[in-house]
Symmetry: C2
Subunit: 303 residues, 2 copies
């Protein structure tokens, strides 16, 4: 199961009505955070999120509204007692930018491991074994990445098969975790003897800060959830939004339809957009399973 939550849904500038856009994904006490603008650590606290569970921090790009909360966030993660490595992954230049910001957050109690995605490529964190992160290049005013998060799920354990093989109940866990066991009789039991077939992984696509283009749909194809930029829904503002290299509601709805995702959440709203729901019908006309997210929006996948 993967819990997905949007503690903030605002774009460009922090406001007193929306926290800056970010996304927390957690499974079995291990979590990934995408982006950390100014105030993200407060937004996370408001959702009662356990900061110490973070294994990976993904940064989409280096505009301040997506990274300026980094020093405070890392200090707070340290206060929550983390001592194991934190992976910080993002575009080329990430280590340089992060180290500059760490001028005001020296002496963290955990090490940082950097991953810089140079082209579309993947990360499979050792500390979060069932997870894969794929990155894809967007079209913004600077190098900016979207992500696909894949959570692989263990096959279902079949207790009937296990009972038929006279396996002691206390060893079920070991087999389910993928290890072989040897019974007292000397018989070798492998996981495949007691597990049912593979389960479909859970997939979440995430992108903000980009002009819309068709290749995004290929990347997030069939995702269980697509979280996508909806800077604004008012089509009279389209040229202005495009000039700043952002996406409109209907453009993300088109990508969702093209990608045949199961559901679409819009986020990263313009500070000038007071009521995103006003433009929801137009987006739903293109992709019916669209929702306009707000701070605290959440789901557990698969639903």
């Amino acid at each position: 199961m993967l819990d997905v939550i949007l503690p903030g849904t605002g774009g460009m500038l922090p406001s007193d009505t929306r926290w800056l856009s970010c996304c927390w994904l957690e499974s079995q006490g291990k979590a990934v955070l995408i982006d950390c603008g100014e105030g993200t650590q407060i937004a996370l606290k408001k959702q009662n999120i356990r900061l110490g569970n973070i294994e990976v921090l993904l940064i989409t790009h280096f505009h301040a509204d997506h990274i300026s909360g980094l020093p405070g966030l890392l200090l707070s993660i340290g206060n929550y007692g983390k001592t194991t490595p934190l992976i910080i992954a993002g575009p080329k230049g990430l280590a340089r930018v992060t180290n500059a910001l760490l001028t005001i957050a020296p002496n963290l109690p955990f090490p940082i491991e950097f991953t810089e995605f140079t082209e579309n490529n993947s990360l499979e964190p050792q500390s979060f074994p069932s997870l894969r992160i794929d990155s894809f290049r967007l079209r913004h005013g600077m190098n900016c990445l979207g992500y696909k998060i894949t959570l692989f799920r263990k096959p279902v354990f079949n207790p009937e098969k296990a009972a038929a093989l006279n396996i002691p109940v206390q060893l079920y866990k070991v087999l389910h975790a993928g290890e072989n066991i040897t019974l007292e009789s000397g018989e070798l039991i492998t996981p495949s003897m007691v597990l049912d077939g593979e389960r479909t992984p859970v997939t979440v696509g995430y992108y903000t800060d980009t002009r819309a283009f068709a290749e995004i749909a290929e990347f997030v194809k069939d995702c269980d959830l697509l979280i996508a930029e909806g800077m604004h829904g008012d089509e009279t503002l389209r040229d202005k939004i495009h000039a700043k290299k952002h996406s409109m509601f209907r453009e993300s709805a088109k990508i969702a339809a093209l990608a045949k995702v199961k559901r679409l959440w819009l986020t990263h709203y313009s500070p000038a957009l007071a009521n995103p729901r006003e433009y929801l019908p137009a987006a739903r006309a293109i992709f019916p399973k669209t929702r306009t997210a707000h701070d605290g929006f959440k789901i557990t996948l698969p639903e």
Copy 2:
């Protein structure tokens, strides 16, 4: 007149109940901001403050809760249309730390002028002519400064004196601004001929993040307002607070009494301090004109 406002009163960690401590001082459309932790720009917006009025940003020290909001704040100041220089003043190392943080806020539309206070010394900003800022060294875990803000006030214009000298009304402003005029009769009129005596300047002392020590009182002597750290009021926590180099309610009340200031506001509360008013009586027993500030606390001086 000097408007003083505390948009935030929290110490150490940003929380969802208090913004981080900062202070906005404004006179005739020119302003000074002391400190800018994570979220300060949002706290300022909540108080309907005009960011573009800022002339001087004072930093007390480089702990993240006092400076991590700097990149976002400067970007927002730029969005408000500022193109004239911004003075950023603070302890030694300020330019290095600020420039590191500006990695995520390049290309600001206004120049920055740095002032690094090395010992107790003063700044008289050209762009804010009636203002003087004095700095004083505190005793914290790192180099940390307190400040005294002095607003000099023009002498009162005496229209009776001016009328007796047959000065045209439209020239009153010129004389009040300190310039000489020559009447049509050829008579030279100097400001001292139409102004009453000097008025007492308005003074505000500000310090947080320090162990209390008697010399602070000398520095803020007779201030109209002292804004001082009250990390906590619970005396059973004193050793813990002292170990982290912070001040208790009663310690700041003692300094206020010693300095004979006109009023004391406590700020920079511990995140663990839910209700500062609980400890107000004990502080007032030492200095009766003590108040426990909260976000949005304000006054116009002289009152």
